[in-house]
Each structure stands twice: as structure tokens, then as C-alpha cells.
């Protein structure tokens, strides 16, 4: 099943804001005493007029640096936190107001927390969840079988949760969040702290789930690998504001137009010499190491072939490599621009 972006949205977020009251510390011992007597209260806007829609079956990456406001948004969408202002409508329910009804339809994984019962065997936790969500026996067995097949839970199903490794636990958390076949799945940093192998298995699993069950997924992460592999659509948030909402390729086209050409020469030359070779072209050269030089230019201005032709004609070249910007650099580029003003 794939998402139909023209379908009416399942999640509708409008002008969502959330403030936190924080006390700012004064400096020094005297400051500490003054803080005790007269704390300096300030409000911090963690989420600032965020609006977006998510269609049923869509998998959306909600990304941003640490402290950007990802978790705060997820908490409001899961009904844990009441917003300062703004609205959220998920299939006709308001998460924080209709929590009793709403929680039946969602699953969530918070990277640093466990929703399993620490002292119980994993399977005992699962049976308890079955009761909590009133999953009929046949459905429960079918779903557990499917999750087991995808996640390989069999080996530790009967161990207490506290004895599991982080990777094993995360697989169990994902299974726990999906046992009741929720319509929506919220994942807050599901791959945090996992090693490469565990990360990969979580990603594969999420891809499978999206395709086989049509679950609508909102995923926060600061690991762009997750996004590259999972989400066609990303929402980038910076200091509480949405700075980009669109597909990944579009993001690359729009801001990821910087190209780096790595050149390894046969004979020594200064960057200035190479700059002279490409005189008239908007290219910046820098020396990387020894005989290696890097040309940095915008795809919007010139084609790589033009630069390559000039260099090869001018001097003997051992090797050439074109490097596109990683998503990470693209996102960093957006942060540098800061304001949402110049982006849609």
C-alpha cells in the first residue's frame, strides 16, 4: 500500500505552538542566591506556528537538530502534551482532549524510554498490551507472528525486558507499538544509540510495515540515514519552525546544488594555478591534501563537465571524482540560512 497524497489528510496540524516556562540562571554564588529568592522566569517557544498535513499511509520524516522542537511536537501529536495554542485534528479526534479514544489508534516509540514492563518477560508485556488494546486472540497471534518474522523476536521473547540489549529492546518496542495494528505510528528517535546493524534492521522493518500495513508514520530523527532510506517526504524544523516541507529530491534540487569536484593531479600545482585554468567560471578551489584539490561550484551556474574539461586540458590528471552534498550538509545549509523566508 502506498500513500495517496491527494487523499484527505489523516493528520491536520495548524499553527501549533508550545511554550515552556524556563528559569534562567544568574551567574556566580550571589546569582545563585538571587535565583532562589527571585527566579528569573522566561518563556521559551519550543514549537512555533507549525502547520502540516499528513495523508493516510504516508511516512514523513520530521527532522531537525537537537532542541529544534521535534519531541515537543510528537508529544502534542500523541496527546501527552497540551499545546499553548493551535489545533491538531487526527481523524476527527483531538489528541490531548480525546486521549481515551485516541490512544487506541496510535502506537508510539520513544527512543530513550521503554513502554514494556521492566520486570516482565517480553511476551508477558505483549499479552498485557493485547488486553489493554482488546486485540482478539486470532489477530494477536497473526500480528505477533508477522512482527516476529520481521524482527526476529523469538530468541528473547521469554526474557525479562531488563536483560535485553538496546538493539533487542528497540525491536521489542517496535513490536509493542504495533501489536494492536494502530492506524498511526509515532517514532521519536527510534534508532538513537543503536549500532549500524541494529539501525539497519529497524529501517528495513519500518519499510516493510509501511508497505504491508499502510500505517501512517511520523518519524523524528537527527540521523539523516533514517530519512534517506525511509521517507519520501520530510519536514525540517529549526528553532520550532518549519523551514522545509516537501519531498527529499526537491530539497536536494532546491538547496543541494553545491557540487564538489575532487581532482588528484600527477604533478604538484597550487590552487591558484587551477583557478587560473578555470578562469571565468564561478568555481572556488581549495587544496585538500598533497596533490589533491577540490573545486566547489553550484550546479545552477555550470555543468561539472565544463570544469573537468578545462582542468584535463590544462594539466595531467590522475583521478577525478564528483561528490554531491549529503543530506546532512543540505540541512545544515538550511539552518545557516536560518529564516524560513527564502524557502517555501
Amino acid at each position: 500500500m502506498t500513500a495517496d497524497p491527494s487523499a484527505p489528510p489523516l493528520i491536520r496540524v495548524r499553527d501549533l505552538c508550545r511554550d515552556y516556562g524556563v528559569s534562567r540562571r544568574r551567574e556566580g554564588v550571589r546569582g545563585g542566591v538571587v535565583d532562589l529568592l527571585r527566579p528569573r522566569r522566561e518563556t521559551l517557544r519550543a514549537v512555533d506556528r507549525v502547520s502540516f498535513d499528513v495523508a493516510p499511509g504516508e511516512m514523513v520524516g520530521y527532522i531537525g537538530a537537537n532542541g529544534a522542537g521535534k519531541s515537543t511536537t510528537i508529544k502534542m501529536l500523541t496527546g501527552i502534551l497540551t499545546p499553548t495554542s493551535g489545533t491538531v485534528d487526527v481523524g476527527g479526534l483531538v489528541p490531548w482532549r480525546d486521549r481515551g479514544h485516541y490512544t487506541r489508534h496510535i502506537g508510539a516509540v520513544f527512543g530513550q524510554r521503554t513502554q514494556l514492563w521492566w520486570d516482565l518477560a517480553v511476551v508477558e508485556s505483549f499479552r498485557l498490551l493485547q488486553k489493554i488494546y482488546e486485540v482478539p486472540d486470532a489477530d494477536y497471534r497473526r500480528q505477533l507472528g508477522r512482527l516476529d518474522e520481521l524482527l526476529g523476536l523469538g530468541e528473547f521473547l521469554h526474557q525479562p525486558v531488563r536483560k535485553l540489549s538496546l538493539g533487542q529492546r528497540m525491536r521489542c518496542e517496535l513490536a509493542a507499538a504495533l501489536l494492536h495494528s494502530p492506524r498511526l505510528l509515532f517514532l521519536d528517535e527510534p534508532t538513537i544509540g543503536l549500532d549500524v546493524v541494529a539501525k539497519e534492521s529497524v529501517r528495513t522493518f519500518l519499510r516493510d510495515i509501511r508497505e504491508s500495513q499502510g500505517t501512517t508514520v511520523l518519524l523524528t530523527t537527527h540521523d539523516l540515514g533514517d530519512i534517506q532510506q525511509l521517507c519520501r517526504r520530510v519536514i525540517i524544523i529549526d528553532r520550532g519552525r518549519v523551514v522545509y516541507d516537501g519531498d527529499l529530491d526537491g530539497l536536494r534540487d532546491r538547496v543541494g546544488d553545491r557540487v564538489e569536484l575532487h581532482v588528484e593531479l600527477r604533478t604538484p600545482a597550487a590552487s591558484a594555478d587551477l583557478a587560473a585554468d578555470t578562469a571565468g567560471l564561478p568555481v572556488r578551489w581549495r587544496e585538500a591534501a598533497g596533490l589533491q584539490h577540490v573545486a566547489d561550484f553550484s550546479r545552477r551556474d555550470i555543468r561539472g563537465a565544463e570544469v573537468i574539461k578545462r582542468v584535463v586540458n590544462a594539466r595531467p590528471v590522475l583521478d577525478l571524482r564528483v561528490a554531491e552534498q549529503s543530506i546532512e550538509e543540505i540541512v545544515r545549509g538550511i539552518y545557516r540560512r536560518g529564516d524560513a523566508g527564502d524557502l517555501p
Partner: protein, 288 residues
């Protein structure tokens, strides 16, 4: 924006049978969990015995130091054997009614762990009460009874004036357990509003020893304290069931005493529910 109607998520409510089944399951699991940690409670038996012994020797000495005479045989309205019964029943009762809801809940709230409960269709207050009941079942069988087995031969426990009072005492302690759980729940909820709640939790624990009458019988307190305490829920946690055992009927009658406890249990449950809903709505949770 798309004008078509959004796909609706159906509303949903758990039926009474499923609700009972679910919360009974929480009871059972709490019982099993305690069973896994039962070794910890063997040392607890010794601790409680020491507390009882301390009070036993203290009161024996106090009574012995009184001058001869009919009036002197009573202290705070109790004879020595009644006083010893008071000490034993209140400590043994405490071993049954005790729970850590306040500490658990305040920890979960201040660390933000409560989030994982809030995303489930669960009534956290009822869940915690069920767990407390499961824990109490464990405590009764593997903690309270062993303490009785050790303490009775050592210090002697006078029976209640009427055998039926055994049953009423038990019922009264069950109500005491619910009242205690609700007080603890309310204290735990404070963590939603206070930055550092652990001090409050500790202070409450010490205050409870006084205000419930476990440490010193209320009858020793000046009248105005007794009047004040009678208006608080704490006496329903220990003083009331102990007095029922002694046949002293705090308040108007036995039924009145039990009804008062039940009223506190219900009232505090409602207050807890209100406080919980309010706290959750205004909450700021810590952590990613």
C-alpha cells in the same frame, strides 16, 4: 488544502467486563513481580519485629513506672495489654497497607517516564490501585502473616473483645489500604507541579507515621490535636482499624467507622482523579 472529509478514527470505550479483566491482570502481575523479589521481604520481617519490640519494651516500662492504683492501670485510655495489642496490630497492619505509589509515580513523572503510560488507553490511577492490591495480596501472605507468626509468640497479642471483630478489622485494613494508596497517589501527582518532589515524599512518609497513629496512639495527644486529626484522612489508614480491633469503636459506631473509611477512600479517589486530569492537562514533561 484538501476539502474532502478526513478519515474518521472511531471512538471507543472498554466494556465493564474487559475493564475488570484488565485491572485484575495488573493485580496478578504485581503479585507475581513481588513474588520474584520475595527474598527482600525476609529482612523486612526482622525490621518490623524490632519496631514492635522497641515499642513493647517502651510501653511496658512506662506502665510499670506508674504509681499503684486503678486509674494508673490505664494510659491514654488503654490498659497495658491493649497498648501492646495496639502496637502489634498497627505495625502488622502497616506491613499490609504500605505501598510505594508516591515514590513510583513521582519518579515516573519527574523523569518523564509517565509518557509511556499516557500513550496507552489506560486509567493510570486505577492501574496503580490494582497494582497496590496485587502487592497487598503478596504482602498479606508472605509478609504480614510471617510477621504475625514471629511477633505473637514473642510478645503475646490479646484477642479482640469479640471474635467477629477479626473480620471487621480485616475489612477495615482493606479500606485503609485503599485510603493509603489514594493519599500516595495524590502525593505522587505533586511531581507534576514541583521540581524536586523527593523531599516532599520523604517528609510525607515521616508525617504519616504520626498522623496515622502508628508511632504514638492518638489517645496520648492533647484534645485539640485529636479533634484536628479526626478531620484528616490519615486516621483511616491505621488508627481506625486498630481501634476496631480493640473494640473501641472510634466515632459513633463500628458501621460509622467503616463508612467513614469508605467515604475517605471514595473521596480521595475522586480527588485523585480530578488532580490527575488537571495535572496531565497542564503538564510539562521532561526529557526527549
Amino acid at each position: 488544502m484538501n476539502g474532502a472529509t478526513a478519515p474518521a478514527l472511531p471512538r471507543w470505550r472498554r466494556g465493564p467486563a474487559a475493564t475488570a479483566g484488565l485491572y485484575l491482570r495488573f493485580m496478578r502481575l504485581a503479585f507475581l513481580k513481588m513474588l520474584a523479589y520475595r527474598l527482600r521481604y525476609y529482612t523486612g520481617v526482622v525490621t518490623y519485629t524490632i519496631f514492635v519490640a522497641g515499642n513493647y519494651f517502651l510501653f511496658t516500662a512506662v506502665y510499670a513506672s506508674r504509681p499503684e492504683g486503678a486509674e494508673a492501670a490505664r494510659l491514654g485510655g488503654l490498659t497495658l495489654s491493649q497498648m501492646i495489642a495496639y502496637v502489634i496490630v498497627s505495625w502488622v497492619g502497616r506491613s499490609f497497607t504500605f505501598n510505594n505509589i508516591d515514590r513510583t509515580l513521582s519518579w515516573q513523572v519527574s523523569k518523564g517516564e509517565i509518557a509511556v503510560q499516557l500513550i496507552k488507553p489506560l486509567h493510570v490511577q486505577t492501574m496503580m490501585l490494582s497494582e497496590a492490591l496485587g502487592e497487598a495480596a503478596f504482602r498479606f501472605l508472605l509478609f504480614t502473616l510471617p510477621i504475625l507468626v514471629v511477633v505473637i509468640p514473642l510478645f503475646g497479642l490479646a484477642p479482640p473483645p469479640h471474635p467477629a471483630l477479626y473480620g471487621w478489622t480485616l475489612l477495615s485494613f482493606l479500606l485503609a489500604l485503599v485510603v493509603n494508596a489514594q493519599i500516595n497517589f495524590l502525593v505522587g501527582c505533586l511531581a507534576f507541579h514541583l521540581k524536586n518532589v523527593s523531599g516532599v515524599v520523604r517528609a510525607k512518609m515521616i508525617m504519616m507515621e504520626f498522623l496515622t497513629g502508628v508511632l504514638v496512639p492518638f489517645t496520648f495527644f492533647p484534645d485539640w490535636v485529636q479533634v484536628a486529626v479526626a478531620w484528616l484522612p490519615f486516621q483511616a489508614v491505621s488508627y481506625v482499624p486498630v481501634m476496631i480491633y480493640l473494640g473501641q469503636r472510634p466515632g459513633a459506631s463500628l458501621a460509622g467507622a467503616l463508612l467513614l473509611q469508605a467515604a475517605w477512600a471514595l473521596g480521595l479517589f475522586v480527588l485523585g482523579r480530578w488532580s490527575w486530569n488537571r495535572s496531565v492537562r497542564h503538564v510539562t514533561l521532561q526529557g526527549g
